[in-house]
Symmetry: C3
Subunit: 466 residues, 3 copies
């Protein structure tokens, strides 16, 4: 007999009954608010072409490194899941997930998937070896129906706005198509210049050449290179972009003179930069980007501190983004100072900081955001985008930075179907956190309700200028 799958209406709320009752009340205020997804990695082609997704494994397993990293850690071969271009029978791959689903107990992936199964597909039994085929068939069949096409899901999920993330080398043609299609769903882009900013990025010099081509600027000179950024940012803005995003190994920034920066650019542009020059160039570019943001109003996001592709052998066999990125200790206090020396007191500049190093929440990030006008704190990110991670974020930042130096929730995902589940988790956790404050008489109920709405909806609109 398969085990029943039910999403309990009180899930994630504190267990203490009076506190739970407050959480329920607060959640009622925000449960049905539209979803704003200001930062993520869905594919704009989905919404441009609006084709049906293929099958359960292709949709839910293959693109989700949270899932296959855990399976890999317990000895499953990625080839058997069809990862990294290897072909595998999708039904067999799905069965591997099903038989190992207990590995995900108490992880956010389990919670997000259960939501997708129950709410998106209406399945009412739990995933395990016994129900693997039933799941595969149910999901795969559903995907052929019109109501499971990308645009239909977008609407059904109550998404008010969704931002994707593109390289400056992207032509944004899918964004163009969406705009011209007449469809009213609001899908915008964001400017992620790592491929032309990070001298260690694969194909950096080729990328610069292509950057020249796309912008008509001469990216072999520092002046031309900066002009190319300005032009491309403006083009991204015409495709709705209100933000940029920067994924650097550290949060280092620099504040070089024009002459120093120019000389540095000359050293790195040919692709043979030393490690120190590469780091310094990335650092200087964060400050340059902040300056451009002050001019064109794009909100700046910094996502530092991930050691990318830590597993060399896996990278060689399967490529990037295969679950082998590992967080590192990240300094902000010294690292950000050069940028802050130049732009820290600009109230019109908006820089949203993320971290994978929770020890910086109370020690560095909340004190910085609770002082500098240009700084705000992004939500708990990646490995910390989880119930306990979100609780720690609030517990360790609120007393110093308050709620109003934070920016609501980012789902940051390429797992499109999980978007509502992720926002729902964030809303439940925030309501539970606020309920605790009310129950301990540290906040009034009306304040908590107002704050809950701000955290779920208003702050993100303001912070991302939407």
């Amino acid at each position: 007999m398969p085990r029943p799958l039910n999403l309990h209406p009180d899930r994630l709320f504190p267990a203490e009954p009076a506190t739970r009752a407050i959480a329920r009340e607060l959640y009622r205020e925000v449960a049905d608010l539209p979803i704003i997804s200001p930062h993520g990695h869905t594919d704009p082609e989905w919404f441009a072409v609006n084709a049906a997704f293929g099958n359960a494994a292709e949709l839910l397993l293959v693109p989700d490194h949270y899932l296959f990293r855990m399976l890999y850690s317990r000895g499953v071969r990625l080839e058997d899941l069809g990862i990294g271009g290897y072909s595998a029978d999708p039904r067999a791959a799905w069965r591997i997930l099903a038989e190992n689903f207990h590995l995900f107990r108490a992880t956010p992936s389990r919670m997000w998937l259960d939501w997708v199964f129950a709410e998106a597909f209406g399945i009412d039994v739990r995933l395990d070896g016994e129900t693997a085929d039933f799941y595969f068939d149910t999901i795969t069949e559903a995907l052929q129906r019109a109501e499971f096409r990308p645009r239909a899901l977008f609407e059904r999920f109550g998404i008010e706005l969704l931002a994707t993330t593109e390289s400056p080398l992207d032509t944004l043609e899918h964004h163009q198509e969406i705009r011209e299609s007449g469809w009213t769903g609001r899908v915008i882009t964001a400017y992620r210049p790592d491929p032309v900013v990070d001298p260690d990025f694969e194909g950096f010099t080729g990328n610069l050449a292509r950057f020249s081509e796309l912008t008509g600027e001469d990216c072999s000179s520092w002046t031309g290179y900066l002009a190319a950024h300005r032009k491309r940012r403006a083009f991204f803005a015409t495709m709705g972009a209100t933000s940029t995003d920067h994924g650097h190994p550290s949060a280092a920034t620099a504040n070089l003179s024009f002459t120093e920066a120019e000389a540095l650019f000359d050293r790195v542009k040919n692709g043979d930069a030393s490690a120190a020059d590469a780091e310094l160039f990335r650092a200087q570019m964060l400050t340059e980007m902040a300056g451009m943001s002050l001019d064109d109003g794009l909100v700046m996001q910094i996502h530092p501190g991930s050691f990318r592709n830590h597993n060399r052998q896996l990278f060689d066999m399967f490529g990037r983004d295969k679950g082998a990125d590992i967080p590192t200790r990240t300094d902000y206090v010294t690292a950000l100072r050069p940028l802050l020396d130049r732009y820290g007191n600009e109230a019109n500049l908006s820089i949203i900081l993320f971290t994978l190093d929770e020890s910086s929440y109370a020690r560095e990030l909340a004190p910085l955001a609770g002082h500098y006008p240009c700084l705000k704190l992004g939500p708990a990110w990646w490995f910390h985008d989880s119930p306990e991670g979100m609780r720690r974020f609030r517990l360790m930042t609120t007393e110093t930075a308050g709620f109003y130096n934070t920016v609501g929730f980012n789902d940051d995902t390429r797992a499109f179907l999980s978007i509502p589940a992720r926002h729902d988790v964030a809303r439940r956790i925030d309501c539970g956190f606020l309920a605790q404050l009310v129950a301990e008489h540290r906040m009034e109920d009306w304040e908590a309700a107002e704050t809950a709405r701000d955290l779920a909806y208003n702050l993100v609109k303001r912070a991302y200028r939407l």
Copy 2:
């Protein structure tokens, strides 16, 4: 209609009813114990002269960097608040605070201020834009009454002892006046030698000259300089001092030979020390101070790990202590070893360690204090002087260092009116923490009651030798 302001009698206690009942019981044991404030930054002139405070903004907003740092982070100009010598209409400044008071939700500042409003001034509506003028008038008028003079408040607040903090260059004339005034309030000083110990301190060489003058010792020689400290410490002791305090960028200590130290002093005394020499000199001076403490019995406090005046532009415009000090990662294990090599096993020496880096609580500080006879742990400090900060302090230090290697509470404040509120928060959080232990059958109720009294009153008296 203004919102009512009520301080709930159960505030900050755990929400679970049985645990809350235990917390209430424990709190009853400590709620009315006298306040010992062994470390803080109030102005002794207040108690010497006993003049009326000016108005709401001057008393509560202008000196409180917790408040104006948050306002600044959201775009308020410090000039408009009258900070840093800029003049501003106090009523208008107060209105800015009032209209932005939601920024402080769930922060300790909000909790402390609500206590001041309700308990000190008897106000029963909440602060917001609508009540801003009512607040300003009520508070400003009250301050003119005799019962709001500093000495009257000191008595009304049940303060048994209050320590201020002075530089060796201070003549302590206000302390002298207090002693000669016949007033029975016990206000003592503490020895904070940073201006003559830190080669990076503003005016260091001039400070040394003045130090020579005040002590009659020749501070251009290492021997004379050390003698000057000994004399000045003795003078501070006549004004009640039982402790010294050291605010260094790191916890580095050194254990140089006399000859090495003398040569180092010769390098730094002229104010042109290298960064390494400055750090080494501060490090050596901690060890020298420990040696003097062993002789004269003054308890030593080390407050390391703050990056002072991080915001260069703000420092240039508004000066020190404007909310731009940011905590940094702080090492203790290697840093303290030279001092501990020399004095670590002295049971008569008492060194109280503070941190702004919570990751050191369980990893470094509790293990060190749970072993070395001379070490004790100061309470959660500054950004961590908050309900959650205090909880984390107990959760992460108690299992290794116990309660009895800690020293009770420090309010560490210049916000005089908030002192009872701060001690009350600490007592409530400790009672809640103990109640949890009792509820989980990890401690007996009679033990918890004894410990609660120790944490609120006895430990601080013993640790600071009061």
Copy 3:
């Protein structure tokens, strides 16, 4: 009147009644499961010889650095406790513990000892100055009875398997005796090669000579030295060993070529290695040991990050392991990479990582173990082997690494009588943690029950290949 001592059946369970009820239910599943102790420091001679323990102080106080470190931190002299070869009246030493027993409130030592007093010795009054003699007599007398001999206690405690830890230089004669004695208790060894792997270990060159002697290999050559390890590991396996253990100052690993490693060995083998060479040699040896583990199947444990013998004066007077080891900040991401480059993707290799730096749980260790097939996480260790330490371990690792990349509990103790108490604490905390997940509807009750049994019994057997 002495205070009563009762172990409450609900101790350590969450206070909230519904959650507590779930915890009780889960605990019922695991309370009586046999104890597997896969890593610890008990003395095999106890089980070989089966002699009576001496007296209360000798058994419970003198070997327990958790106890005397705390007493020392509050000014007690180690000489007065009979530590480090100093002789002291055991009754008087015991009285010192008794009179200072309040220092241990809310520490795990207090909890473990209360269990020993109540459950092992049937004492029903609390330890304090008044009951010191009663305790000393009761315990000392009991120890003379047959049921308190080591083997009888082993059986009474329900220990299914106990691993000790020995140096390669140990002849394992006690293990041999146990095997030949006909006693059915399963006591096995583990291979801890630090004395012949760490160039900074006391007597390193002498140790190498002895290593040659014991193995018949020429340990003055790199090849002979490696062969000696292989032989000795095989010998340890005949005495039941299924694991190795490595206690290094850091988690550094290296991946040198054979020639480089050989040259390095030549530099360190004479005992005059530089600090950098010593660190590099330890680093390389972790990788070598991983390679041997892949061949012979021994599970590898890495216990890094303790600054050993931090108190120089104490080390000179009393020797090693006197409570003066202090945790340090520990990096894993960069440190482990060379080993992982070579063996990280081997699903047949099993490396169990420990830490004293909790900031690495969510940031580094859970992401690493949640990806690499060879890595698993050891339980909360040493200072963190405590109720709050265990909770933090689960809270910070589960969402990324899951439960199934962890390995159950290690008691890691030389305090034999506390073994059941320690396992009981771990089981209660895990049940409480799972109960919370069930109460918040993040897990089903049947899953929690299955997981509780896995954490208490099944995972440790699988992880240690028992």
